[in-house]
């Protein structure tokens, strides 16, 4: 299979590279865009560790080819916060101990950065339902659920006019 030029828009930046059309978005992000925060957990769409946003929607980057994403806006964990300035959700995960080994965490952050925009007042049951697309082997989920609820509350308090 021959390589061809692919242009992706990732975190607001255009990145060009040569790759085979069969190259997964996941692998292109990690190898060609040098963004290793998106993790390969199962490569068959179950665990959610590789979740990124495509045009704002959570997407499994292991289930699509990089070349398919030309012309779309891709956002990865590297666009969310920095170690010095965490996002509201990341800060809540930190305070609630919502991560342990951290391997699944970027996928969870990406899923809920999008989810909380559309669902500002989720119940615990809502959060658990939405989180069921991300496997975590360390935490038992309880503190992740608490962190998402805390982040939602802080986001509502920060922008009361959206209520």
């Amino acid at each position: 299979m021959s390589e061809q030029r692919i242009t992706l828009t990732v975190n607001g930046r255009n990145i060009e590279f040569e790759a085979e059309p069969r190259k997964l978005l996941l692998d292109a992000l990690r190898e060609d865009c040098h963004l290793s925060g998106t993790h390969a957990g199962c490569e068959h769409g179950v665990c959610g560790a590789c979740t990124v946003l495509v045009d704002g929607r959570p997407t499994r980057s292991c289930l699509c080819f990089a070349i398919q994403m030309e012309g779309h806006e891709v956002q990865t964990i590297e666009s969310v916060g920095t170690p010095q300035k965490l996002s509201v959700l990341q800060q809540a995960l930190h305070e609630c101990h919502g991560l342990q080994c951290g391997f699944c965490t970027p996928g969870i952050v990406m899923t809920f950065e999008a989810y909380l925009k559309d669902h500002p007042e989720p119940t615990e049951a809502d959060i658990r339902e939405a989180l069921s697309g991300n496997l975590c082997r360390c935490t038992g989920y309880q503190n992740i659920v608490a962190a998402i609820a805390l982040a939602a509350r802080r986001m509502r308090e920060a922008s009361p006019h959206d209520q």
Partner: protein
């Protein structure tokens, strides 16, 4: 907690690890860029048991990007065989090749290794390697393994019985003969796997000039791993560095040196180039370590009040095809500690471990996971048979506080545990008495509620004496160093291997309080064999006592030197009236602590840059090193209680409430401990309800090769866990630490099964195997209803 005043130990602080992991800046194996690295992909057996007739790699070698393809014959020249032969009664020695050369022993067994310029091309070529097999009959169950005409998994052994041990303590036969009743129960725990979200992987980089191997791998035990890796490559331990970066979960899967990893290292040495490998999820499910799969039978002699007069335990474990650990490594511990918090003097056990055509077993979070289910399920059976309340049966058998320390029938000493307190705590929290009323009302309405209780005694820190007395090869000691730098910054290291437990946070607290500084000023370095001292790594629940305890003692040693210097500089005869707090030296004047103006940085400056000002006998610099041997065993204890509802129409189990009271002594970090409790309970519940590595009983084919087959509980299935922390310090360990992290699995397995049994008790059926799938439970319910219909017509 203890009489020692802790400032940081036990205080609530969020983790130091989080910022990098939350923002995608962790560095896991696959994130490490190594220019020019080649990629390995393994050709794996499609058969459970087969002779390798030939390997044709001609077409594959012509594929784009392929650099080389190697088989077991190549590896046999470059590496030594693996021999597992500790001198243990009843254990047979076992050897294996690095990669099989004559026959494969399970579906997924690696037969060849393709090296190519990228992973896609390596996988393409692996598909073109043609291996001719002659299929042999497979051993797919432990009962097939024990059959006299069974195919032999290992042709060098006379049969499939890898390990067999038994013991009798007290007068079991006499107690059985004279008992009010003898009640028999059985428990079948199914095969599972650890399933870290990060699969296995490694990077080998042979430095031709220095003749040195840099080996990066996610491992729980960096130094023991290096010892084995160096030996099998015929290198000195000075020629190998093992470096473990951020690790995406281990749970016991990342301890042994795997054959794939050894192959990658050997290939890098041959090619003189860096080689990397990361398995995919299917390989992780087919060929990475698996665990559990044991059958247990108890016979218990009781009096009319349910008092246990004797216990007879039989265990058969299906160990898989290869011995990465001694065969008795897992099941023997179950037999040693089964009686838990109960007074049982007459006890016999018989433990058989058999080989089968499956992946080799390894320890998985709570290698003794089945223990509490077996003991507590046995007590529930006693209650059922005698018409007693399950809690009442526990009470008549449970050790009273005045009976501690208690020497179990096996010789294990149980001390500093609080089973009465945890059970009382959890029963009060869940409202046990009123729950029984609610259960009766619900049943009248056709709803099947069940209440399950499970008391846990978790073996946490395995000292060298335990290994010796249990007949298991191993040491339980640990090592640490602390270096106070010229600026007063504190670096510390210990031989543990982090896989997400938050060591950088919890261990910093141990150093902080042992020394007298803020945890923010303590930097914990782990997972690099050239930096960390030689320790035994992370396994069991030894991180707290062995890791934290050793660092705490080392920090106390450092503090004594720092204060001796401070006393000398202050013109005091000794340091009796001095302490270090938050890096400042304070002096007690009358009853008040007063700041002396001296800081740790001042002391460090003298120690490094003005050593002539040091007191006599104190050597320059501030470096400390210490090794520590923990007690033979430490125990944490807990009581789990849960309420479930079983849907009679579908067999589905809904967990309504889950409460745990856990006493794990002094906790270094409550944040970390709570997270470990949640994770352990979740793993126990998920395993009991869903997870199942299933092999076809006829062909030995692994039927669980994807996460659509190997089901793991999600946030949707798991309940909210209510925790009641208790803190009885261990009086034999530094700072009263006990360790924890596996008991949650033990308790969850038992509490859930007991609750489901309780919910179905009115049908006269007993759940005696896991997982508790709807299909399994519906089968029991259907049979019970058929029987009822038969008797009523």
């Amino acid at each position: 907690m203890t009489s020692e005043a802790f400032v940081h130990i036990g205080a609530h602080q969020p983790r130091k690890e989080d910022a990098r992991l939350l923002t995608g800046h962790g560095r896991y194996i696959d994130d490490i860029v190594v220019p020019g690295a080649l990629h390995a992909c393994f050709v794996r057996s499609p058969h459970a048991h087969a002779e390798i007739r030939s390997v044709d790699m001609g077409a594959a070698l012509d594929m784009p990007g392929v650099v080389a393809i190697y088989t077991g014959h190549d590896l046999a020249r470059w590496t030594t065989r693996h021999r597992m032969a500790p001198p243990i009664d009843g254990l047979r020695a076992m050897e294996m090749d690095t990669l099989p050369t004559t026959k494969v022993r399970f579906q997924g067994d690696p037969v060849a290794c393709v090296i190519a310029t990228n992973r896609y091309l390596a996988e393409d070529a692996a598909e073109q390697v043609q291996v001719e097999y002659a299929v042999l009959p497979a051993v797919s169950t432990m009962w097939q393994a024990l059959a006299s005409d069974a195919p032999r998994v290992d042709d060098d052994l006379p049969d499939n019985l890898l390990s067999h041990q038994h013991a009798v303590h007290g007068d079991v036969a006499g107690a059985m003969a004279g008992a009010h009743r003898v009640i028999e129960s059985s428990f079948s725990q199914h095969r599972q796997t650890h399933l870290p979200i990060e699969t296995r992987g490694c990077i080998a980089d042979w430095d031709v000039g220095r003749q040195h191997l840099n080996f990066q791998v996610g491992t729980q035990v960096p130094h023991p791993y290096r010892t084995t890796l160096a030996a099998r490559l015929r290198l000195s331990e000075s020629q190998v560095s093992v470096v473990s970066p951020d690790v995406g979960g281990g749970f016991g899967q990342k301890i042994a040196l795997y054959r794939e990893e050894l192959t990658v290292a050997a290939v890098s040495m041959q090619l003189g180039r860096p080689v990397r490998w990361r398995e995919d999820r299917m390989e992780n499910l087919l060929a990475s370590s698996q665990a559990r799969e044991d059958f247990c039978r108890t016979r218990v002699a009781v009096d009319a009040q349910g008092r246990v007069l004797a216990l007879d335990l039989e265990i058969v474990e299906d160990f898989g095809a290869y011995s990465f650990y001694p065969g008795n490594y897992l099941a023997r511990v179950v037999a040693m500690i089964i009686t838990g918090p109960y007074r049982i003097a007459n006890y016999a056990y018989d433990v058989k471990v058999v080989l089968s055509n499956k992946v080799g077993n390894g320890p998985m979070r709570a290698p003794m996971s089945v223990t509490s289910w077996v003991m507590e399920g046995t007590l529930d059976a006693v209650a059922r048979e005698l018409g007693l309340d399950p809690v009442a049966v526990r009470r008549v058998n449970m050790l009273r506080p005045d009976e501690l320390p208690y020497t179990m029938a096996t010789g294990e000493v149980l001390a500093d545990v609080s089973p009465n307190a945890t059970m009382d705590g959890v029963l009060a929290a869940i409202g046990y008495d009123s729950l029984r009323q609610r259960q009766a009302q619900a049943r009248a309405q056709g709803r099947w509620l069940g209440i399950g209780v499970c008391n846990v005694v978790e073996s946490t820190t395995y000292g060298s004496k335990f290994y010796k007395s249990a007949g298991i090869a191993g040491s339980g000691h640990e090592a640490a160093w602390i270096r106070i730098e010229p600026s007063g910054a504190v670096n510390a290291s210990v031989g543990l291997g982090a896989t997400g437990q938050g060591y950088e946070t919890s261990l910093a607290n141990a150093v902080a309080d042992g020394l007298g500084v803020s945890p923010a000023d303590v930097h914990v370095l782990l997972g690099h064999t050239d930096i960390a001292p030689y320790g035994m790594g992370s396994r069991g629940a030894r991180g707290g006592t062995a890791g934290g305890g050793t660092l705490y003692l080392c920090a106390q040693q450092a503090r004594a030197t720092v204060l001796a210097i401070a006393a000398h500089l202050s013109g005091l005869a000794d340091a009796q009236a001095l302490r270090l707090l938050d890096s400042r030296v304070q002096q007690k004047v009358v009853d008040q602590w007063q700041d002396t103006g001296l800081t740790l940085a001042d002391i460090a400056r003298v120690a490094y840059l003005d050593p002539l000002a040091l007191p006599p006998g104190v050597s320059p610099g501030l470096e400390f090193h210490l090794t520590y041997e923990p007690p033979p065993m430490t125990y944490s204890n807990a009581s789990h209680a849960c309420v479930v509802e079983v849907d009679g129409a579908t067999g589905a189990v809904h967990i309504e409430r889950y409460v745990v009271a856990e006493d794990c002594g002094t906790v270094l970090s409550p944040v970390v401990v709570e997270g470990q409790q949640h994770g352990a309970i979740a793993m126990g519940l998920s395993g009991s309800l869903y997870e199942h590595i299933e092999y076809d009983s006829a062909t030995g084919q692994n039927l669980s090769g994807s996460l659509a087959d190997y089901l793991v509980a999600t946030s949707h299935e798991l309940p909210h866990f209510e925790l009641i922390p208790m803190h009885t310090p261990n009086l034999s360990t530094p700072a009263g630490i006990k360790g924890m992290a596996e008991g949650g699995v033990m308790g969850a397995i038992g509490a859930l099964s007991n609750a489901v049994n309780d919910a179905l008790a009115h049908l006269g059926v007993v759940v005696n195997q896991q997982p508790l799938t709807p299909m399994y439970l519906r089968g029991l319910i259907r049979q019970a209803q058929l029987n009822t219909n038969k008797t009523s017509t």
